[in-house]
Symmetry: C2
């Protein structure tokens, strides 16, 4: 499934063959939590050129629900998406969004954040939901811990995550179409190097098709993020894809690529876009700023996306200030275009052995680690 | 400027030659109040095939303001729109939106609904603003009255509207580029046939390039709307374009076309779209309805717009219920596509002498007048 094409130090240039298509890595996956990328028409996905998107098992399980997804013939048909889809297991959402989440040995009991109805996610049941979704990459149920967490609590969550991963890979092997759907394990361990290493090694022994790092970028300081990213990645099998969950900013991504991460997803580019914050080749700007009132140049002179080809900062500022929905559409479109182009540059810099140059450039505009 | 191509009874098929392009009539103009159509990316305008859009002098005067529009080189460049633009004068907004509007003999004094700052719109000043905007069609300042209004108050507003129109046409003739910008007068008169007729006749004497009917579809009963539409239109010069302001529903449009109206604008298709109400060839539907939960057919089997080609009712219902912005985008896209196709059918039915058949079809799905 995964081909490691070349490396530049630890940074990896790879290729992921999935049921719905081939994905070049490193890759950024835009987030379509509920089967739609927020504030972006579906046609823009193709225009920008994304190769894979992410959706969320918890949200889709709550709405539209498994029966609708089954009736539709899976998420791809439901949302009319031809790209590979990776789904998070919902573990993170159960622990962060739902009311009254109770961790049991066999799974996580929770109440829907919408109507309070009671549900149980088990290592097997989340895979069943992801079978209904038709995910190209399914994620195992894991137990996330908030930051900070004490060592014994983080250790307990790690042990449970590893045990659940074992149940999941067994169930996957006995009853899934392994050509159609892949499954990734998730390394937890909070900010403790011993837990991260132990978790990564023991999950590696289970021989999953791919590995994710969870529980980072949840509020810990930058240096701890980078330390954990580096330590954990070093323990993961070289021949399997590595996915850093919920990350991140251009800076976090460039750092984790340097540690050998291949895949990323994050709501940040779309979320900050809706707040008027835009990525450019010269760093972040906020379009509300009065300095753009009569600035008739594009958002980013080095960007050739639909928004930069058609609209000025002055216009984008105006429609944002008066509350036009098209401001959210254009800002989202541009930020995702930025992410796509950033990943293209990351790929070619690894191929050319110039990744460190690109990394320094990103540092100069997006801060140092 | 206006060519009357053919008629089917009183329904007219025409062509309007404007600075930024040719517009076939009858035409529906989507509303870009502040220089953007709500919830629609600019690219969709071309895709749907609109020929002219509407913007608003009051809103653009408040934000981004004349100095920004001047610096941008007008609204067309500012919003990157190649289509003709018609701008309402702001008269309606001054009377309905602003705080403390005071009608003076020389104009309307008002406070901005945004910051309370004090402004005066005169018959000349609104044309100056529309010169900065660069409107293909400018509207005169008029005095709108709410429904119901008593006869003497409506009469007074009519007299003022006619006097202001006289000032406007004089100013237009002495200092505007008449090839680049056209100007329309607005017939008022509330729901009084004598006032409507008198106003229409006296404005016709001023020999404007085009005429609008204002102050209708403001809450009066359907039969009064139709009566006023018919009476007023009958008094307007045959060789000038006729524009029914702020109208309307498929039913109102089909009725006013039957009276000889050529141009329409309305926020309704976009506003109800954001509430989940969608026009189809079989009438209105609301996409929130539970009957669409597992309905995997398109919104409208007779529609070939982007939304109908790509998404099912089930999916559109889902994204609307979970609050996705793309639901607003898709609903808006479809309703404007419906309006565009309706006007295409109106045009060809007049050409073919089958307008009454189409009118009966619309009655059967959208109610009778």
């Amino acid at each position: 499934m995964f081909e490691l094409i070349t490396k530049d130090n630890d940074a990896r240039r790879g290729r992921l063959k999935l049921f719905h298509g081939t994905v070049e890595t490193p890759v950024f996956m835009p987030v379509a939590t509920r089967g739609a990328i927020r504030a972006l028409p579906g046609s823009a996905l193709d225009e920008i050129g994304f190769e894979i998107i992410l959706a969320n098992t918890y949200h889709l399980y709550i709405r539209p629900g498994v029966d609708v997804l089954d009736a539709a013939g899976g998420l791809h048909k439901f949302m009319n998406c031809k790209l590979p889809v990776l789904t998070d297991s919902g573990g993170f959402q159960v622990f962060s969004l739902s009311d009254l989440c109770k961790v049991r040995e066999d799974g996580a009991e929770f109440r829907s954040h919408l109507d309070g109805s009671k549900h149980l996610f088990t290592p097997r049941s989340v895979l069943d939901v992801q079978r209904s979704i038709g995910s190209d990459i399914m994620m195992v149920l894991d137990q996330c811990v908030e930051y900070p967490a004490d060592h014994s609590y983080a250790r307990e969550a790690c042990e449970r995550t590893i045990r659940w991963a074992g149940e999941a890979i067994d169930y996957y092997r006995e009853s899934f179409d392994r050509e159609r759907q892949k499954i990734f394990a998730i390394v937890q361990g909070s900010t403790y190097p011993d837990l991260r290493k132990d978790c990564a090694k023991r999950l590696a022994d289970l021989d999953f098709p791919g590995y994710a790092i969870g529980g980072l970028s949840v509020g810990e300081p930058k240096d701890l993020y980078n330390e954990m990213s580096e330590i954990t990645t070093a323990e993961l099998p070289e021949d399997k894809p590595r996915y850093m969950m919920g990350v991140g900013s251009p800076l976090e991504i460039i750092e984790s690529v340097s540690h050998g991460i291949d895949m990323f997803d994050c709501v940040m580019p779309t979320r900050i876009a809706r707040n008027g914050t835009l990525y450019t080749s010269q760093g972040r700007i906020n379009i509300r700023n009065s300095q753009y009132e009569k600035d008739f140049t594009p958002l980013d002179p080095e960007c050739d996306c639909y928004v930069c080809r058609n609209f000025s900062k002055s216009y984008l500022r105006h429609i944002f200030r008066v509350g036009e929905i098209s401001a959210l559409i254009y800002n989202t479109y541009h930020n995702l275009s930025y992410m796509k182009k950033l990943m293209l540059r990351v790929r070619s810099s690894i191929e050319n052995g110039t990744f460190e140059e690109l990394r320094r450039e990103i540092h100069s505009y997006y801060g140092r680690p």
